[in-house]
Symmetry: C2
Subunit: 150 residues, 2 copies
């Protein structure tokens, strides 16, 4: 078993899961303009040195409102049960989320970002630079193909 | 505190951290051709339904050989101390790794993939489909800019 403590919290215009589960956001660019803030706890602030040089960051976080999971799940964008690992559902065996955000500015221990699809108060587990190794193209979208306006 | 249990393990040609920390792999495409296998434990096999429709998967895993961290760290590709969150170092407050792999084929609970940069026996925490929301471009690489052949 692995134990992790939050390094910060996310400030978001979305106050609840229901705010986010609106299909208007759920396509490929829907969240791009949604701004929020990554507040890193002061004890980790020094670890943020140099992050502002990157345009995008990978944010790992806890889906802290997740309550259990099923191996077959109904996706927000679908009408057929899918394997949970073929979805980005918050209800998964290890409820860890991953979102790539765009850096707007850093102010000490606070990072203003866009591309936020997490809810207010979401615990942050890690921040990493997004690099060219994370850019994959072309990609195949499986069952999502017809659902995303990509 | 959040507690996570592995859902599987990674089979890799790299047997130790030292095998991986070779600069020949460390540029933007160095690991692309490295093949391995994601072995998902049988109890989670049903959750893999539909994953083979996606060309790429996000793999979250535990840096299980990580021993502590410093907030300023020397990157493999660098010669100046950087904030740990501006690096992909395994030695971080929450030692969780994220790698995007390419799916070659699925055989029940085993996924043959390429793009492996983890070591043999690495515990898998989660698998997610890589979607167009994860494709960011153009990007700025900060201190890494001159280090990656991107």
């Amino acid at each position: 078993m692995f134990k992790f403590n939050p390094i910060g919290i996310i400030h978001s215009p979305f106050k609840s899961k229901e705010d986010i589960e609106s299909k208007k956001y759920a396509d490929s660019r829907g969240f791009d303009s949604v701004q929020g803030e990554l507040e890193i706890f002061r004890e980790y602030e020094e670890g943020l040195k140099d992050v502002e040089g990157f345009s995008h960051l990978v944010v790992l976080f806890s889906f802290h409102k997740s309550k259990g999971y099923k191996l077959h799940t109904m996706p927000l964008l679908g009408d057929i049960l899918r394997g949970v690992f073929a979805t980005r559902s918050p209800n998964r065996p290890n409820p860890i989320g991953m979102t790539v955000v765009k850096v707007i500015e850093r102010n000490r221990n606070r990072l203003k970002v866009s591309g936020v699809d997490m809810i207010e108060g979401t615990p942050i587990l890690d921040i990493k630079p997004y690099t060219s190794r994370d850019q994959k193209s072309p990609i195949k979208l499986g069952w999502l193909k017809k659902r995303m306006n990509s």
